[in-house]
């Protein structure tokens, strides 16, 4: 066991994978000579060489497109999109190609592609370095979308993603890179894709969250317990697609009240799918309407500090909504 932050966990897990299997390679902007703008691939070029650590041109559609070809022909490419905000030129490759390879070939072809991307705000990233993208891709059958937010989950799910014969979009909340630390086993292990996790048990209400918001929800739940004596269960979604409905519904069935917290624009976000699922399946178990806490419906996360704070749900806002829901 070693204590590590999220980005160091990613670095070390990728390193182990490159050591264990020659099919594994990393590719993306600045992953080689610079070691990654967040240092996730620091030291890789010296150790593994140019053929397995590829500095790509600034062309996301090509990064993903080439990685798809590599994956179909027996390699295990880990493509990096430098910021999730930049992934849109690769949308066509992911949706029209990667997600369909198996389906259109009736299982004859695998596409064991992993695309990693840092997402989320709270670092003054502003419009082009703060975006949430999980809703766009969670909507696409054939693509798996995961967003673990603790070092333990990150290592386990990154390994699960690399071991998966299907394309996985592996989203890493950039604020958690250095902020969130935890104990990580030294040996390889998997945390299964498609399984949510109850991070905090409770009886009075359920808060479903992911990414940085999950950490805020945990802090808010603790405060709720300390100040109001209300017990809130926090469910970490971990996998957007395929969604673990069972864990989420079991929790809401138990508590009778649900809120979903996500930093993405509220309307048509991934939280909307979770909310609709709860409402549709648990009508007679609910004691209150399902609440969604999401970012405002504006075209980007502002740069100015007070505006960025306004955008992001934080511990205070989540605490207030939890308290209101508990009182309903």
């Amino acid at each position: 066991m070693t204590e590590k932050n999220v980005v160091q966990t990613i670095h070390d897990t990728l390193w182990d994978a490159m050591k264990a299997d020659d099919r594994v390679l990393v590719m993306g902007e600045d992953v080689g000579a610079r070691g990654g703008v967040f240092r996730a691939t620091a030291g890789f070029l010296d150790e593994f060489g140019e053929r397995r650590v590829i500095d790509t041109p600034l062309a996301e559609s090509s990064i993903v497109g080439c990685a798809i070809g590599m994956a179909m022909h027996g390699l295990l490419p880990i493509a990096e999109i430098q910021f999730a905000d930049f992934i849109h030129p690769a949308f066509d490759q992911l949706v029209s190609e990667a997600a369909r390879i198996r389906y259109r070939s009736a299982g004859d072809w695998d596409c064991p592609l992993v695309v990693r991307a840092p997402w989320g705000g709270g670092v003054h990233g502003a419009l082009y370095h703060s975006q949430s993208i999980e809703a766009f891709y969670g909507h696409v059958p054939g693509l798996k979308v995961v967003l673990p937010a603790t070092p333990y989950d990150v290592k386990g799910m990154l390994i699960a993603s690399m071991n998966d014969p299907d394309p996985v979009l592996f989203l890493e909340h950039k604020k958690t890179y250095r902020l969130i630390k935890g104990e990580v086993p030294d040996e390889p292990y998997e945390v299964p894709i498609g399984k949510a996790d109850v991070k905090r048990e409770g009886d009075d209400l359920t808060c479903v969250a992911y990414g940085l918001m999950m950490h805020h929800a945990l802090a808010a739940a603790q405060r709720l317990q300390d100040e109001e004596g209300v017990s809130c269960e926090v469910v970490d979604v971990r996998t957007i697609a395929p969604l673990d409905k069972e864990t989420i519904l079991d929790s809401v069935r138990k508590t009778g009240k649900a809120m979903v917290v996500y930093e993405d624009n509220r309307t048509y976000g991934a939280g909307a799918e979770i909310s609709a699922t709860i409402s549709e399946e648990l009508m007679f178990d609910l004691d209150a309407p399902v609440v969604r806490v999401g970012g405002p419906d504006v075209p980007g996360m502002p740069f100015a500090t007070p505006l960025e704070h306004f955008f992001l749900p934080d511990e205070e806002k989540i605490f207030e909504r939890m308290r209101d829901l508990a009182k309903f």
């Binding site: 160091q8 070390d12 264990a20 030291g43 430098q82 910021f83 299982g107 695998d110 250095r178």
Partner: protein, 127 residues
Amino acid sequence: DDRTYRTREEVEAAKRSDSLILFGRYIMERGLLDTSDIEKLRTEIKQQVDVEVEAAWKAADPEPESALRHVFAENGSGFRPIDWSNLRQEDSGDAGQKMEQAEEEILDTTGGEATPSEPPAGGEAQP
């Protein structure tokens, strides 16, 4: 043959620089294949395609529910995951040090984390 996109003249002109046609000519000029070889190839391939088309027409219609299959890998996919037993203990430990070395050289620019997230004391307006 669809004539709605290009005129006959445009198609004839394009054929003059069609890479498939030019490549065929190139191979023959190099003596690698002659006209009868190419004819033979054409016939073989056409027969192959005809056989496949015939088989497809004759095959039973798929079960409607089969449209739900193959979204993700089903059991028995031949995919070979990473063999983690190849990872030696001593190979793993290095990684953390590399990151620490790199951290010291960091110029926090695109990460945005060098920008202070809190303003100087007393400066913040209340929303």
